[in-house]
Symmetry: C3
Subunit: 270 residues, 3 copies
């Protein structure tokens, strides 16, 4: 039975790029279902692509073939790779770190191969659109069972693969300097902080940033009207949220920004 | 044979939320097709979600399972429900009115059940992402035939379910005050008026609003260049339209706005 | 076996229009897969729709049914047509030129038919939404094999069909005046120039436009940081590109604009 392809790119949906890749898959393997994860990764933003894949990885079918393309190095010597994971999903994409958080989330890397066999590709391979000419055809052949990962080319050492670097929060006097990993459609601000960081900082039910004190809530509907708050989101990250509006706008935060957070000020302080 | 899932949310496509729900369905029921209706309902706008589902309902396959998530109350005591309709489609979503215009359009409610059985869900259920943890898994199991609606939990009374309130137009001296239900990509302005309201107002082939007189047309191409006009749109609502441009921009109208409409002024008036 | 439908429109994804068409297909032919090419053609921009279909055509499955709707003439006497091509794909859409570059890219037109049989449509046919009421139902019946192209209505002469006019570049003193065909998500500027035009102009490894000299590169990663350059893109068009940014923004170019290009100035000139 065919495996489903889970598809993520920075192609957007304004152009036909993602659609052409879907057509290429349908041409090679008509029986394969293609499931869009998202195509709205910011252009060439490998870290955001890796974080998104890492967040989604635990929810993928165990037989999924992940087709991921965020590829500023397209047309250069960067390798095209196929990665097997211990939990089952197989990952196809450029060797630039994009896949690295997914294989960690999927129990670790069980094998990695460089795409070399020209018979698997769409010839002539362009210098600018490997989603169409390299990654989609290889993913289609893996999903249909036409080839196994080990058949695409030589095995490569796990240590030689690129990984992304997720910035860690920095403990500073009186608090922590966190980074904004992303802002979602609702304006929720996802930070590079997990529950363990809150514990280490002694933060339990409230946090301060600038002039604001944010209470911890469990769900969006627990916020008082107009209030800012924080919660641990559905991916395990600390997120700053606002009632009926955008915490990103209220706090002036965008992806990549730094934000200082501290425990609540004692009463009478300030 | 598996039933198709028809999927509507306010998740947008910028984030991976809709994609993760699709992955959850594929994991539980790989044979089920998921068909995106739209994910661009404005954030937490239950009324727009309900109107959109209501407009689309007559065109759904009779065996469709509708998976609808616009859910400002996620993580609170609001119920998760499954609704059977007389025309066939089964509706899954939060009990906040989102499904209510769809069940009316589908011949009325034939049964409603509260989702209770924890075995149907993705455990642990987060407090913020019930699309992934509650609604998608339940829809997948209904679509695959693993469970019947009556098996998800206790039956609930139709009268106890939330419904949305679609604002009615108000007859005022010399005309009617209508509400803008929505503005589509082409800038067409959909109003809370139907043919019957025009008849009641004695409006046949022209309408006035502010300084403008809009003639009635049948199709977009019937407009004179640069002209504004009105028509009864493909969903039966009165819509204000513009030739080769946006009636919303020309008239300065946005969803939720009120607009005064009247019959044409008699010649020589004003 | 069912044929896949490849779906392109100017409906956008903000509204449910594309989703309703998918529902109509699922209702008539549940076994048919629908593959979105793009729904982001600018509203009523038939030329951009035709160019996009033409670029994608070589990558389509040979049994594809193309369902294409960019239709400013909806509700008028413009014909609804079904076109057979020599390479296999069948095209369904309005007779306004939208399909014309696709049938050229697919080896030419092998037969064309006007949609006439009312039994194939969704009755009553609205005057404003033929995607839902005419084109999707016909495409579904062709894809399922319920009807053959020749059964939808009378054969029409190829010469009578509308074609789009792709503007040709104009040779002027000292260079060429090109048109911007499109700007993609990455800000790459696609021009109405092909390799043959460069050869005719004696342009090999550099081009000038205004104060800028752009070197030819093979891949995006070959650009020096901050540099502008040009390449022949994955569809065979000359594209102006920028390192890590938008060439369209850097050069102030938008779709439809004209741009003067010339060979490099000799050293010491100017």
């Amino acid at each position: 039975m065919a495996r489903p392809i889970v598809f993520l790119t920075d192609y957007g949906l304004e152009d036909e790029f993602a659609g052409v890749c879907r057509a290429v898959v349908a041409r090679i393997a008509p029986e394969v279902a293609v499931l869009d994860l998202t195509h709205a990764i910011p252009p060439q933003d490998v870290l955001t692509g890796a974080l998104t894949l890492g967040r989604a990885a635990p929810y993928l079918p165990s037989d999924a073939v992940v087709l991921a393309v965020v590829d500023p190095g397209v047309g250069t010597e960067r390798r095209a790779i196929v990665v097997e994971t211990h939990r089952g999903p197989v990952l196809v994409g450029p060797d630039n770190g994009l896949l690295s958080l997914a294989w960690i989330a999927l129990g670790g890397l069980a094998g990695a191969y460089e795409v070399e066999d020209p018979k698997l590709l769409l010839e002539p391979v362009s210098a600018t659109f490997h989603g169409r000419d390299v990654f989609a055809p290889v993913a289609a052949r893996l999903a249909s069972g036409e080839v196994e990962p080990a058949q695409v080319g030589r095995q490569v050492a796990a240590e030689s693969l690129e990984k992304v670097h997720v910035p860690a929060p920095t403990v500073v006097r009186g608090g922590v300097s966190a980074k904004v990993l992303g802002v979602d459609r609702f304006g929720n601000v996802e930070l590079n902080l997990r529950e363990q960081h809150l514990v280490a900082l002694g933060i339990t039910d409230a946090i301060t940033t600038g002039p604001f004190t944010l209470k911890r809530v469990r769900a969006f509907a627990d916020l008082a009207p107009g209030a800012l708050a924080f919660l641990v989101d559905s991916s395990g990250w600390v997120a700053l949220v606002a009632s009926g509006g955008s915490a990103a706008v209220a706090l002036g935060l965008a992806p990549g920004d730094s934000v200082m957070l501290g425990p609540p000020r004692p009463p009478g302080d300030g």
